[in-house]
């Protein structure tokens, strides 16, 4: 389990992380979402042992990450700004990573050439931005990390390559049980692959839940008739006699309550992740639209 507890970090007078607590369960695909400037990259730099927190703790399986090479050897990190030595080629970076990560998988590295089709002996700095991103995936996946931390990973990739990269990540999760943390400022990007989501803003965690919990705890209902008492309605619209409600509670529980009132018509509809966040956070004065649009 990857965990941040009450982490605070200040840059000069600016509080980048404010008592942030975050838990990434083992084997989860965790989406860290937030608008630009929410503190996602800062949080990730703490999780990868780059920054030292002013207060709080950051651990992986109970062991500290900061200045702990043994723990860091199990973490693969792809930053938003790709790291490579200025004149290095893929082969030189392979040799370097091989020295740093004892579990480096040469066979996988060779296989990934088929997926990414990157030149072996051209300096990485000559690659396009998208190719540099691919090179980062190529190298980091070959390190066989137990935890993969990706900061805005598909920025700069074309749709085909996005799909391919996400596919690789998911197959890695499926085959090796890798824990994945992906940050993005776009919720739609994460909807299909994440099973846990955390929403950050102003250095704080607004909401952190598993997708199953969220989807099971909020339902959208269309009803013709009286709204039964005891329903926790988060949002209500009406079109003629047809009312559309977003209600907190499981589908079974909500159905039971509505059926008890015997309405003229009712139906339970699926909610998208987007809608859940809008209605969950709707009462809070956050710019939720920033992470959805």
């Amino acid at each position: 389990m990857l965990e941040m507890k009450n982490v605070t970090k200040t840059f000069g007078d600016f509080k980048a992380l404010d008592n942030l607590t975050m838990t990434v369960p083992q084997g989860a695909v965790y989406g860290l979402v937030g608008p630009n400037g929410a503190g996602k990259s800062t949080a990730i730099r703490h999780l990868t042992g780059i920054y030292r927190p002013d207060s709080g703790s950051i651990t992986l399986e109970g062991l500290p990450i900061y200045e702990n090479p043994q723990t860091k050897q199990t973490i693969g990190y792809i930053p938003d700004d790709i790291f490579y030595f200025p004149s290095a080629t893929m082969e030189e970076m392979r040799r370097f990573y091989k020295g740093l990560y004892p579990q480096f998988d040469d066979a996988l590295f060779e296989r990934l050439y088929e997926a990414f089709d990157l030149p072996r002996k051209t300096p990485i700095r000559r690659f396009s931005k998208g190719m540099q991103k691919q090179a980062a995936f190529h190298l980091v996946l070959s390190c066989r990390p137990e935890v993969l931390i990706l900061d805005e990973p598909v920025d700069g990739l074309d749709p085909v390559m996005r799909r391919q990269v996400m596919g690789l990540i998911l197959s890695d999760v499926a085959e090796h049980g890798t824990t994945v943390l992906i940050s993005s400022h776009n919720l739609r990007e994460l909807e299909d692959i994440c099973d846990h989501v955390g929403i950050m803003d102003h250095g704080k965690m607004l909401l952190e839940r598993s997708l199953a919990d969220m989807q099971g705890s909020t339902v959208k209902v269309q009803i013709v008739g009286e709204i039964p008492d005891g329903l926790e309605v988060l949002h209500e619209t009406a079109s003629g006699r047809l009312k559309t409600l977003v209600v907190r509670g499981s589908a079974e529980e909500v159905t039971r309550k509505i059926e008890a009132e015997n309405p003229a018509y009712f139906d339970v509809l699926p909610l998208s992740l987007e809608e859940i966040f809008i209605y969950e956070l709707g009462g809070v004065n956050y710019e939720v639209k920033n992470i959805i649009l």
Partner: protein
């Protein structure tokens, strides 16, 4: 798990070596090419001699190379992408540091070792210098100790700075601030205290590259073997080169190398605590901002004032205008660097600028008030180990005898009482033995106390009365006139002049060979000794107001003559005046005075 970490460290070290190979390979080639080019085609003596003397030059080379190596290896800290990328990898900061330091030492050790081996082969094959084989060894050790210091200092600067420019500025400040402060004190504060001179020694001590360039580690000499050989039909004496190890130079290099090592350890500690988010900032350590701002401002003031005055000489008014310009540039330039913005002209910063300007003005006013009595200070005889009286930098008298020190402090007191203003034509009056001012001469008094502390005062003093008598007593002496020949009395001078091959007046009027007899030289030695004893050989025209040669044009009516004497082992030159009766009496029969008179008549008559 330990072996895993070792392999990580090895990977980082290998990367350092391979990533920057062009630099250290280029360094090897430069060393060898420069050394071969300056050998003057003389592989017997000059190759080794130049290599030994090159230790001083290596001080400058290592000043640059140490900085370049540190910037290459630790430059990743200044770039956010590289800094974050590297520190996300599974290595502790101390491991990165260790790998970089090991690589840096190899960057110096390998090129210098190859250079030393190459030179060793050349010296063994072509040179018969005594113990010549040790020269490359000394060169190798000295170069690497110098490198250790400059690299340690540069790494320390890298840890204090957040970007490359910041590192360069901090490195420059730490290397040269003492010289800039000396310029500031010498040209801004010292002139407010009459007669007081700022001694450059303590400031030079704090400038390592200055010391390395000026302190020798090995001395070279050619000594006679006692054998002769025939070259182009002429029998010549055979010489052989030999080296002497100068302990003082090695002690200095050893001390700075230890300081370099300590700086490296300090830098390692700073690195462990470094906040990596500072990458790109000017300084990495926040609390250094305020001291940096003050130091940078003061040094800019010193730089503007000192450097412009030294190189361009803008006149007296510029002395106080340039520091103010320097303060403005320093204060607001410093803010711009720290804030990485040109938007620094805010009220808060103007208040700061006002404070530092007031501080400078206040310190100048306080210096002028002289509450510590520096201007009127006269050393106590009992606290003074030695005292020196000079009229110029060649001829001076140094004494440790209390009675004589008392005489010199009395001269000091007379100078303060006379309170003469400097002659407007300062430099002429100072360097020439003939002063344009008929009344006063400039003197230099130096005192060394029992702690080795040296102080100096420069005054103008009357050449007449008690001060004139004291001057004649201590500057018209044979050991002052012949400082390089160990001449104490007439007998010593006879012994020295016995070997004279040439005696001439005013550089061109030689005493003829017929006149250059042993009797003539003895008579000349005795005459010089007698005039010195009489106090007539003070090497300044203000003590000798009568013209030696009467000219028709009264405007050019005061002349002195120079008497050059040289033999195989000595070369000396003194000025003679109209009151040097004994010398003139000996020279008159030889006809050289008449020749000189004719020459003056042709030029000025």
């Amino acid at each position: 798990m330990k072996s895993r970490i070792s392999s990580c460290k090895a990977a980082a070290f290998r990367k350092d070596i391979t990533r920057f190979w062009p630099v250290w390979v280029g360094y090897i080639l430069c060393l060898i090419i420069v050394q071969v080019l300056q050998s003057n085609d003389d592989l017997n003596y000059w190759y080794a001699a130049n290599m030994g003397e090159g230790i001083a030059i290596m001080g400058v080379v290592n000043l640059c190379y140490g900085f370049i190596v540190a910037m290459m290896l630790f430059g990743d800290l200044f770039n956010t992408r590289m800094c974050n990328g590297i520190h996300s990898l599974p290595l502790k900061r101390e491991h990165w540091f260790g790998a970089h330091v090991k690589a840096a030492l190899l960057f110096s050790l390998v090129p210098t070792a190859l250079m030393a081996l190459f030179s060793e082969a050349v010296i063994v094959l072509y040179s018969d210098m005594v113990a010549g084989w040790t020269v490359p060894l000394y060169w190798f050790i000295a170069s690497n100790l110098q490198f250790l210091f400059f690299f340690g200092l540069a790494v320390f600067c890298a840890m204090c700075a957040g970007n490359r420019f910041g590192m360069a500025v901090v490195y420059g400040i730490l290397n040269f601030c003492s010289i800039l402060i000396y310029l500031l004190v010498d040209q801004l504060y010292t002139p407010l205290l009459k007669g007081v001179v700022t001694m450059s020694g303590p400031f030079e001590m704090l400038c390592p590259v200055w010391q390395m360039v000026n302190k020798r580690c090995i001395d070279f000499d050619r000594v006679e073997t006692g054998k002769t050989f025939v070259h182009n039909g002429i029998e010549q004496r055979e010489y052989i080169g030999q080296i002497t190890v100068v302990k003082e130079g090695w002690i200095y290099i050893g001390i700075v190398a230890v300081i370099g090592l300590l700086l490296l350890l300090l830098a390692r500690q700073i690195y462990k605590k470094r906040n990596l988010e500072c990458a790109g900032d000017f300084l990495a350590v926040r609390w250094l901002n305020a001291p940096f701002q003050v130091v940078f401002t003061v040094l800019c003031a010193a730089g503007f004032q000192g450097v412009f005055m030294v190189f361009f000489g803008y006149g007296d008014r510029a002395v106080y205008v340039l520091p103010v310009i320097g303060l403005i540039v320093g204060w607001f330039g410093g803010r711009m660097l720290l804030e990485r913005s040109t938007q620094v002209f805010r009220v808060k910063n103007f208040v700061g600028f006002g404070l530092i300007t007031a501080l400078l003005a206040g310190s100048l006013y306080l210096t002028w008030l002289d509450p510590m009595g520096i201007e009127t200070w006269i050393p106590k005889v009992g606290e003074t180990k030695s005292a020196t009286l000079r009229m110029n930098y060649r001829n001076g008298y140094t004494t440790e005898v209390p009675a004589e020190i008392a005489d010199l402090t009395r001269l000091h007191q007379l100078a303060l009482e006379q309170d003469l203003e400097p002659h407007p034509d300062y430099s002429d009056a100072y360097y020439s033995p003939y002063s344009n001012d008929p009344d006063c001469a400039q003197i230099i008094l130096q005192y060394t106390d029992y702690n080795g502390w040296l102080s100096q005062r420069n005054y103008y003093i009357l050449a007449t009365g008690e001060s004139g008598d004291l001057m004649r007593k201590y500057t018209s002496r044979l050991d002052v006139l012949f400082p390089d020949e160990n001449v104490e009395d007439a007998a010593d001078l006879r012994h020295t002049l016995r070997d004279a091959e040439v005696v001439r007046v005013n550089g061109i009027h030689n005493i003829s060979e017929e006149c250059m007899t042993e009797e003539f030289l003895i008579a000349l030695a005795d005459a010089i000794a007698a005039d010195a004893e009489a106090g007539n050989l003070v090497q300044s025209g203000v003590f000798h107001q009568e013209p030696i040669l009467e000219m028709e044009n009264p405007e050019y009516n005061q002349y002195y003559l120079t008497l050059d004497m040289h033999g195989e082992d000595f070369w000396s030159n003194i000025s003679i005046y109209a009151d040097c009766e004994n010398i003139l009496k000996v020279l008159e029969p030889t006809g050289v005075l008449e020749s000189a008179r004719q020459e003056y008549a042709n030029i000025y008559g």
